[in-house]
């Protein structure tokens, strides 16, 4: 991947890939704006997603950012992560494993 992983599009892609591989059942279709709640993503799955973000992008999402709006969809969460990382390349070493 040539682009920085912290560009919004790439973050969205990676979060989507993580959801598909680790959280959601095969055959569940969604896009970046689908509400996570409609996908059955519960608090347990959200914590897994936040821990993935911490490992992959080196950004722990602070409690103050865990608002309903930021956790609404993959796109909203990606924007939040981008704002935290400032669009700079992170010291990420993991792939899409939690």
């Amino acid at each position: 991947m040539g682009d920085s992983p912290t560009q919004a599009g790439n973050i969205t892609e990676e979060l989507g890939r993580f959801l598909r591989r680790q959280i959601l059942a095969g055959g569940v279709s969604f896009d970046e704006n689908t509400p996570l709640r409609d996908l059955g993503v519960d608090s347990f799955a959200l914590v897994e997603l936040l821990l993935f973000i911490e490992k992959r992008f080196g950004a722990a999402v602070p409690e103050s950012h865990l608002t309903r709006a930021n956790l609404h969809s993959v796109a909203a969460l990606a924007r939040c992560v981008q704002s935290l990382t400032g669009g700079e390349a992170p010291a990420a070493t993991q792939t899409d494993e939690p």
Binding site: A25, V28, D42
Partner: protein, 453 residues
């Protein structure tokens, strides 16, 4: 669908709930038999339900399943016997003065007549249609032995029966799973011997650490009297009350981890009961089941696909809702970071080689069952994508789960159409009548914001 003839291994969760079943039956209770109560705004005909069950393809699997172990210390299996058994569907008239919801019927002793069980001559699943007075709707009661299905599976079963009536029966994979619908991490955790052993050991260290004495027990002073029956009370909240509860959870710092606010409110309400009794302050230990299915999956329907997170609350944390939510949040994150639910699932699989009696003894522990101060479960949003059952609109649901003694008390939370329900379940004698009233009042106050934050 052809009649099943094969056998399948138990999940770790299956054997865990069978150990609790053993513990209940030893105490002269009926066993780990659960009920899902679905209130319907309309009438469902028993024959129509029987026909839907038949076309769903679930009947051969459920009517003929048996627990089987070839030799001691070999892993047990579910085995399907030859047979054309039918699942019992009973049409009943509601008794006089009866109204849906409350009071909830007790689950009686093992001497009481029962059709549900895993022993020959019993069915692991039964359906009762309780018809109210003319125009009063029907209450569907699904009764099942927890050994073959968890609460989520029970909801999925009803969804698939409903879909089958509309011409979309579930596939065998959806019913059984065969491991394909579980998460990749879980499948990997089960596949290698040494990592499995290491993971199991790690989870047992955690259980050992969180269960150090002194732990609070809800057992009243003295030795009883304890009756071998479960009592239930339904605590319902309106949509407006539920919205207020969610806002209060936000204020307490729970945010999207709504379940932790429910858990904290449960612990604080039970702590108040102990304080009222004059009991010494002690830490609370609560194992909380977690669904291991992939999110959005239509299955597996059968078997128990759960593991646990273990929460410990020290007496000083129980005094403040905010502090309690903060410590529970920290524990949740740490355990998920350490992959603890998957590790404990591996440990539960390893325990399958033990005879049930020995396993139940381990769960009771050396300190008279201090495996848990109480049981807590949040089944989340029920029937989110299904508004009706066989043409009748679903108006409410409640999960009734029995509890063993110890711990003797369970709180089961569920949400339907934005309304919160809590079922208090306890072994008769564990809570006096006035204590049950006090528990309900305190719980309401904790949730609705009348208590100190």
């Amino acid at each position: 669908m052809t009649r099943p003839t094969q056998s399948l291994p138990l999940t770790g969760g299956d054997y865990f709930v069978l150990a609790l079943d053993y513990q209940m039956r030893r105490a002269d209770m009926r066993g780990n038999v659960c009920r899902l109560v679905v209130e319907l705004d309309g009438t469902v005909d028993a024959e129509r339900l029987r026909a839907a069950i038949r076309v769903s393809g679930t009947q051969p699997w459920l009517a003929n399943v048996r627990f089987h172990r070839t030799l001691p210390f070999l892993k047990p299996r579910w085995r399907w016997c030859a047979g054309n058994g039918e699942l019992p569907v009973a049409d009943r008239a509601a008794p006089g003065g009866w109204r849906p919801g409350a009071p909830l019927p007790p689950i009686g002793t093992k001497q009481d007549p029962a059709v549900v069980g895993l022993r020959p001559g019993r069915s692991p699943v039964a359906f009762d249609l309780v018809n109210g007075p003319a125009g009063g709707g029907t209450t569907l009661v699904l009764t099942w032995h927890h050994g073959i299905m968890d609460a989520r599976g029970a909801e999925l079963l009803l969804q698939h029966i409903n879909a089958a009536a509309d011409g979309s029966p579930p596939s065998e994979d959806v019913l059984l799973g065969n491991g394909r619908l579980l998460s990749g991490a879980q499948v990997r955790a089960q596949s290698a011997w040494w990592p499995s052993l290491r993971a199991a050991r790690q989870s047992l260290f955690l259980v050992d650490r969180v269960s150090r004495a002194p732990l609070a027990s809800m057992r009243p002073e003295g030795d009883g009297p304890f009756e071998p029956r479960n009592l239930f009370r339904l605590v319902s909240f309106t949509r407006e009350e539920t919205d207020l509860i969610i806002r209060n959870g936000d204020r307490a710092g729970a945010g999207f981890r709504r379940s932790l606010f429910f858990l904290a409110a449960s612990a604080r309400a039970l702590h108040a009961v102990r304080t009222r009794r004059g009991a010494e302050p002690a830490a609370f230990l609560v194992p909380v089941p977690q669904d291991l299915r992939r999110r959005g999956a239509p299955g597996p329907v059968f078997f128990n696909h759960v593991s646990f997170l273990f929460y410990r609350a020290e007496p000083e944390h129980l005094g403040s809702m905010k502090q309690l939510v903060a410590t529970l949040t920290r524990q949740m994150t740490e355990q998920i970071r350490d992959r603890m639910p998957y590790s404990f699932d591996t440990a539960m699989r390893m325990f399958q080689r033990l005879p049930l009696g020995l396993y139940a003894r381990i769960l009771r522990g050396p300190s008279r069952g201090r495996f848990a101060t109480f049981y807590f479960s949040d089944t989340g949003e029920s029937f989110r994508d299904q508004q009706s059952f066989l043409g009748a609109r679903i108006t409410d649901i409640a999960h009734l789960a029995p509890v063993a003694f110890p711990p003797g008390i369970a709180l089961i939370w569920s949400t339907f159409e934005g309304r919160l329900n809590v079922v208090l379940s306890w072994v008769q004698g564990c809570l006096a009548d006035d204590e049950a009233d006090f528990l309900e009042q305190t719980l309401r106050a904790e949730l609705l914001g009348e208590a100190e934050r």
